[in-house]
Amino acid sequence: MTQAEPQHFPSDVLTIAGRSYRSRLLVGSGKYKDLEETRLATEASGAEIITVAIRRMNIGQKPGEPSLLDVLPPDRYTILPNTAGCYTADDAVRTCRLARELLDGHKLVKLEVLGDAKTLFPDVVATLIAAEELVKEGFDVMVYTSDDPILAKRLEEIGCVAVMPLAAPIGSGLGIQNRYNILTIIENAKVPIIVDAGVGTASDAAIAMELGCDGVLMNTAIAEAKNPVLMASAMKHAIIAGREARLAGRMPRRRYASASSPLDGTIA
């Protein structure tokens, strides 16, 4: 696998809650067919931050059966517990406390409070309440939210360490639905803005980075590709390409043509 690295900006790192990361691709660990595929796709993605869900232990589980953190060890990856499946602020806060205990006091969490099972849109009111409580309890909160610029700014002001507006509904693969909202959020932000949810293919990720996002978080786009390991690699490259294009400063769009070859010396 090629190790594509940003060539011109070796110091272009993503910093979240005081820690720096070379990869701007964050991935989820759900929906894979088995742990081996999870492991291979995650490695191919080059991601350093991996989200996990917190769920009841299966009491009947055979001892010695490998578990997720065996294939994604916390000493190798930054494990980002999420509050997936929580529909109330209380549940989300409780889940984060359990996650912090599970991960030996690590306080980086992804907060999501859902409002509706069909669209999985965030309940933004409950999200604000949960964010405030979690920040007070010392968590470093990366918060999943809608693409509303006012809300994004409020969440930043509450003290979230990163704001993560959705591109489109979770698992929809529709790509960024409102570029201008994402752009406005980026323009107003002093914390990293990471597009989370709704990315479908490589170009979606590249577009997010070209808009100026600091990173992209995705799960379904990789796990539900026909070849997840290959898609993980595609996404890794797309994120790098989009970021380099952003840093390179694109050419202006023009209404009409501008020839690339000089006119002088054309044969007559």
Binding site: G30, K31, T38, I54, M57, I59, G171, T220
Partner: protein, 66 residues
Amino acid sequence: MQLVINGESFEAADESSIAILVTMLQLDQQRLAIEVNGEIVPRGLWSERRLVTADRVEIVRAIGGG
């Protein structure tokens, strides 16, 4: 004594500590977090904390998710 573990009825020896329960359930090798009656019990206290009948225990771990 009768406990409720992850929503299910469970029979355990009287005076079992959380540590004993974890061993009995063969979960020693797993990374877990445990709540008893809605309050997290840190791993460092699992040997000391004795369970009593009707205690509601939640045992959670990390799984794949987005």
